[in-house]
Subunit: 385 residues, 2 copies
Amino acid sequence: MLERYAARYRHELVERVVPFWMQHSLDRQAGGYFTCLDRDGSVYDTRKYLWLQGRQVWMFSRLYNELEPRSDYLDVAALGLRFIRAHARDPQGRLYFSLTRDGRPAFFQRKPYAAVFYMMGLLEYGRATGDVACLDEAEEVFWRIVEWIAHPELLDRPVLAGQPPASSLANVMVLASMAIELWRVRPDPRYLEVMRQAVAGARQHYDPERRLFMEFAAPPGGELAAGPEARFFNPGHSIEVGWFLLHLLEFVEAPGAREMALDAIEGSLDFGWDRQYGGLFYFMDVEGRPTLQLESSMKLWWPHTEALYAVVLAYRLTGQAGWLEWLERLDTYAWSHFVDPEYGEWFGYCDRRGELTHTCKGGSYKGCFHVPRFLLMSLQRLQEA
Amino acid sequence: MLERYAARYRHELVERVVPFWMQHSLDRQAGGYFTCLDRDGSVYDTRKYLWLQGRQVWMFSRLYNELEPRSDYLDVAALGLRFIRAHARDPQGRLYFSLTRDGRPAFFQRKPYAAVFYMMGLLEYGRATGDVACLDEAEEVFWRIVEWIAHPELLDRPVLAGQPPASSLANVMVLASMAIELWRVRPDPRYLEVMRQAVAGARQHYDPERRLFMEFAAPPGGELAAGPEARFFNPGHSIEVGWFLLHLLEFVEAPGAREMALDAIEGSLDFGWDRQYGGLFYFMDVEGRPTLQLESSMKLWWPHTEALYAVVLAYRLTGQAGWLEWLERLDTYAWSHFVDPEYGEWFGYCDRRGELTHTCKGGSYKGCFHVPRFLLMSLQRLQEA
C-alpha cells in the first residue's frame, strides 16, 4: 500500500505540480517568480511576494539536491535567487514583503517571515552550488532573524506596555526549521543550541490535556494573559511543529520529546478535524468561543499537506497502524478537494463545507512550497526500505 | 408600508439593539466598552478596540441628540469618552488600535481610522453637551487625519518606490463623513471645501459602465497600475459612499453628482448581489479574477445595513418604486440571516451560503455602530412626512 502512495505522490510531484510552476511562474523578463496564478496558470497579479520568492528558490534547490540534479531545476532556483538578492533587502538589511514586477519595494510587513524564506532559499541554493557567499549571507540573515524576533522594534513594531511578551509558536517553528537546515550545511554547535531551545519552547506551548501545541504561550518567566490568544489553536501549525520536532530529534536528545511530538500530531488531528464536513479547520478557539479571524472555519490546503507528511513520518517512526487510517482519511480529503485533475498544482481555499472559494493555484501567501515539499518529503519517507 | 418598516426599525433599535449594548458592553470598572461579545452578550475578549470605542461614543451621543435626550444615553457616551481621552493617543498624538482592558496600549495600526472614529465620538459628544474642549480636539484631530492620509509615513507606513500613490475610496469616504458632521457643528468654509474635494474624489472612483465606485483610483495627475487593486470592488463601501454623497449634496452643489450617487447605489447592488445564494458579497474582483482576500465571498452584516439605509434614502429622494423592491429584498435577507430574535443586536458573519460562521455580536471590528446607525437614520427618513 505504501508503494502505491509513493508512486502516486511521485507522479503528482514530477508530472503535475513541478511542471505547473515551471510553465507558469517564471518571469524570464524581469526575474523572479509570478505566484498569483489562476487555475490555468494565468497571472492575475505581477507583484513578487517575498515569502514565496524565497520558498520557490528553496523548493527548486531542494528538488535539485534531493530528487534529481536536473540543470533546469537549478536554473529555476537561480532565476529567483538573483532577483531577491538584487531587490529584497531594504537599506537596513531587512526584508520587504512584496516588490513590483521589476523589483521596486511595494510593502514592508513588520514580521520576520520574509527573511526566513529568503534565508532558506539562499541556504539550499548554496548547498546545491557550493556558493560560499550564499551560505554566508544565509547565516548572517539567520542571526538577524533571531534578533528581530527578540526585538520586534527593529522591524518597526513598537513594543507597547499593554502587549506583554508572549511566545509565538510560529517563531519557535521557524527558528527550529532554519536551525535544522543550517546544521546540515554548517555544523556549528550554536545551531544545536537553537534546536534545544526550540524543544524547550515547544514544551511551553504543549497542552497535555488536549495533546496539541497552543499558538501562544507564556514567555520565559512570565504569564500569558487570558483572552483570545491564550485560547488560539492553529491545527496546521501545531502539526507542522510536531514533524519539525521529530526531525530535530535526529540531532538533539530530549527526554519525552518524541512522545510529545507524536501525541501532538495525533491530538491536533483529533481536535482540528471537522466531524461534520471533514477537513482540518484553519483556526480554532479551544474553548469554542468566537475567533477574531473571519477565515477560521475555512479549509486550507496547507494544514492538510503538513498533516499528510506528519502521519507518513509518524508511521515510519512507529509502525503503528493508526497513522495509516489518518493517512487514508487525509489523502482522500485532499484528493477530493484540492487536487486539480486538469491543470496541475492544488487549489488552496475551501469554505467549511469544502466548496472552493477561490479558483487560484497561487496568491500572496500560496506559492511553490507546501504541496511539492510535502510530496517530496513523503515519497522520500515512503521509499525508505 | 413605510410606516410598518418605521415601526419595526424603531422597535429593533430601541428594544433589541441599544439595550444589548447597554446591558453587556459597559465596563463600569475600568471604563470604556467591551465589544467582543458573544451571542448572549458574554465577553470573550476584554481588550478595548479603538475604532469601536469611538464609534460607540458617537452612537450614544447621536441617540441622545437625535432620538431622545435620555440621560442614560449620555452617560454611556461619557463612559467611553473619558476612557479614550485618557488612554487612546500616543505621545505623538496618534491613535492606538487597541488597548488592554485598563487602557494600556496593545497595538498600533498604520492606518488613520482609529482617529476617524475618535474624532467623530468627540464631535457628537461635544454637540450633545456643548463641551468646547471636545469640539476643539475633534477639529484638531480632523486636520491631523487629513495630514496622515496625505503623508502615511507619519503613521510609520514607509513610502516605497514600488507603491505609487493611489486614491483610496475609504479615505475619500471618511473625509467626507467627517466634514459633513463638522460643518453641522462648526460651519467653517474649509469643511465645504473638503466636501467638494470628496465629490471630486468620488468621481475619480466612479466606473460609469458598471455604475459603481471602485475601491482604488488613479491619484490626481497620476495613473493606477493594472492589478488586483485596479479591479477591486467593495460593494458595502461603494454603497456607503453613495449615501454619503447624497448627504453632502445638501451642503454643496455639484452637477450630476446626485445622479452618479443614485446610479452607484443601484449599480453596486446589481453587481454586488449574489444571484445564487442572495446577499451582498464582501469583496469582488470586477473581472472575476481571484481576490487576494480569503473572506471575499462571505456575507457580512454591514454592507447590508449600508444598503438598507441607502435605498430608504434613495426612495425618499426620488419616490421611484424600484428602490422599494430593493428595500424588501435587503430587509428579508437581513432579517433572515443577521437578526437574532433571542438576544438582540445582529450577528455579523455568514459564509457565501448564508450560514453563520461566527456566533458573536461584536469583535475587534464589529461594535455598536452599523446596526443602530442604519436603524436610526432609516427611521428618521421613513418618518419624514
